[in-house]
Amino acid sequence: MNSNKVIQVKGLTKMFGDFTAVNAITFAVEKGEIFGFLGANGAGKTTAMKMLIGISNPTSGSAHVAGFDVFTQAEDIKKNIGYMSQKFALYDDLTVKENITFFGGIYGLSKLKIKEKTKEMIDDLGLEDVANQLVGALPLGWKQKISFSVALLHEPKIVFLDEPTGGVDPITRRQFWEMIYRAAHQGTTIFVTTHYMDEAEYCDRVSIMVSGKIEALDTPKKLKEQFQVTSMNDVFLKLARG
């Protein structure tokens, strides 16, 4: 297996009874790449991602994530990936520091390492004033930046971001993308699922799922050229409407 391929998926399929939610998808993601995983509501994105993060068993096909097999090494996958979603990120009724300690513990970091990481994160994000405040009291943009950093605590090879920036103001959102670019620059692979097409424009490459299949996969630039449109939104509309 090519060591630069952090995610390698071949013919991955998931059936629920007679219904094929994910239909033989094949793709690979390189180290340090920002990969956008798009699709309409119900196209099979979430089902596919659940298989990749080791919480749902595929029906057939193969997939390796961070070098581990999704069929036989799901627990190893969980230890080697980070996950962040807008729906669930941090505990609102714990302080910023407590959240870091809690998630550090879950990921099995030593007390010393947690201490180091906490300091690093607080300095990095300028959290000195809010480190002992409850996360629930912080603005959405801060929560997102903190939860992204928390997802990186254990220095995973890949971070899965599930619709990360919906609803945030445009400036905060760009600060967030700068953090993503930095992580990618440092070699972390970023896997973003979203149906917000403007998030797709930030990705190195983008795949678009329609009814369980990957119908397009390329850089945003090439996809726009291929479909002769000026935005990813229009690419999506052309694909989804057939």
């Binding site: 945030v168 445009p170 700068e178």
Partner: protein, 300 residues
């Protein structure tokens, strides 16, 4: 028969949710309230739909005062809240009948108004609302908000969490409703939806940043924006931010939007600087401002 908002302010404990908000929505206008989560959009909607009382200021809806005439307003407005608020365990048809009945009307009486939208979900009319997809829920909620033929329609983030295809269909529906003499106030966190409105108000942290047509707002952007691209996005952003003459540096999809503090800015000079920073495949091209550029400039 539009909306008139005069110096509305509202605070919750320590948070100033709305500060001195004033604007008018003309009859039959499609007016967009554009801003991120926490900007105060929902608070304003709740005040205008008589569900919340402002600390200061007043507002009229279709000529009725939100305090004194609240009962009249409730008969004449349709409100689609951001959170899906229909009965999950009633079917599509039962929900619609329910709303028609409490407004003292029937589905038949105003069927014309909802027909275009309802036919799309009618095949599933015996399905419970809780079992519908996001796009279908949204269409049902719109039908329920329209069934009593309101004069003014309030739509609070109707397209949040909905995929691009359903979003497009939804905006097409709004355009058609506008033709039927309904004034529409719609809120959205998506800047790209601003262009679909007649006029927009940009709102952040409880304050209005700007009100105008989307075309005018974009045209008034004070600087020339350049699309800058290079082979390493992170290094490009860091180098541009370190450039002494930068005015703003914002990642924008596959490009960075760059503006310069100087009037006589020469792109070649910037290119040389970036090359000296070991960046390759550099392109610098003029581009048009978007609503998002304008929003960030106002919020700066």
């Amino acid at each position: 028969m539009g909306i008139s908002i005069n110096h509305i302010s509202k605070s919750y404990k320590h948070v100033k949710a709305l500060q001195d908000i004033s604007f008018d929505v003309k009859p039959n206008e499609l007016f967009g309230l554009i801003g991120p989560d926490g900007a105060g959009k929902t608070t304003l909607f709740r005040i205008l739909t008589t569900l919340l009382i402002a600390n200061e200021g007043n507002a009229t809806i279709a000529g009725y005062d939100v305090i004194h005439d609240f009962k009249e307003i409730r008969k004449h407005v349709g409100y689609m809240p951001g959170k899906f608020s229909l009965y999950q365990d009633l079917t599509i048809e039962e929900n619609l009948k329910f709303f028609a009945t409490i407004f003292g009307t029937t589905i038949d009486e105003n069927y014309d108004l909802i027909k275009d939208i309802y036919v799309q979900i009618e095949p599933f009319k015996n399905r419970r609302a809780g079992k519908l997809s996001g796009g279908m829920k949204q269409k049902l909620a719109l039908c329920c908000a329209l069934i009593h033929k309101p004069k003014v329609l309030f739509l609070d983030e109707p397209t949040t969490g909905v995929d691009p295809v359903s979003r497009k269909e939804f905006w097409d529906m709004l355009k058609r409703l506008q033709q039927k003499n309904i004034t529409i106030l719609v809120s959205t966190p998506y800047m790209d939806e601003a262009a679909l409105c007649d006029r927009i108000a940009l709102i952040q942290d409880g304050e209005i940043l700007q009100i105008d047509t989307p075309e005018t707002i974009v045209k008034q952007y004070p600087k020339t924006i350049y699309n800058v691209n290079a082979s390493n996005m992170y290094q490009l952003i860091m180098s541009l931010k370190a450039y002494p003459h930068q005015y703003s540096v914002y990642p924008f999809g596959e490009f960075v939007h760059y503006t310069d503090t100087r009037d006589g800015f020469n792109p070649d000079e910037l290119k040389q600087y970036l090359q000296a920073q070991n960046l390759s495949n550099i392109t610098i091209e003029k581009t048009q401002a978007t609503i998002e550029d304008s929003f960030m400039e106002f919020a700066k």
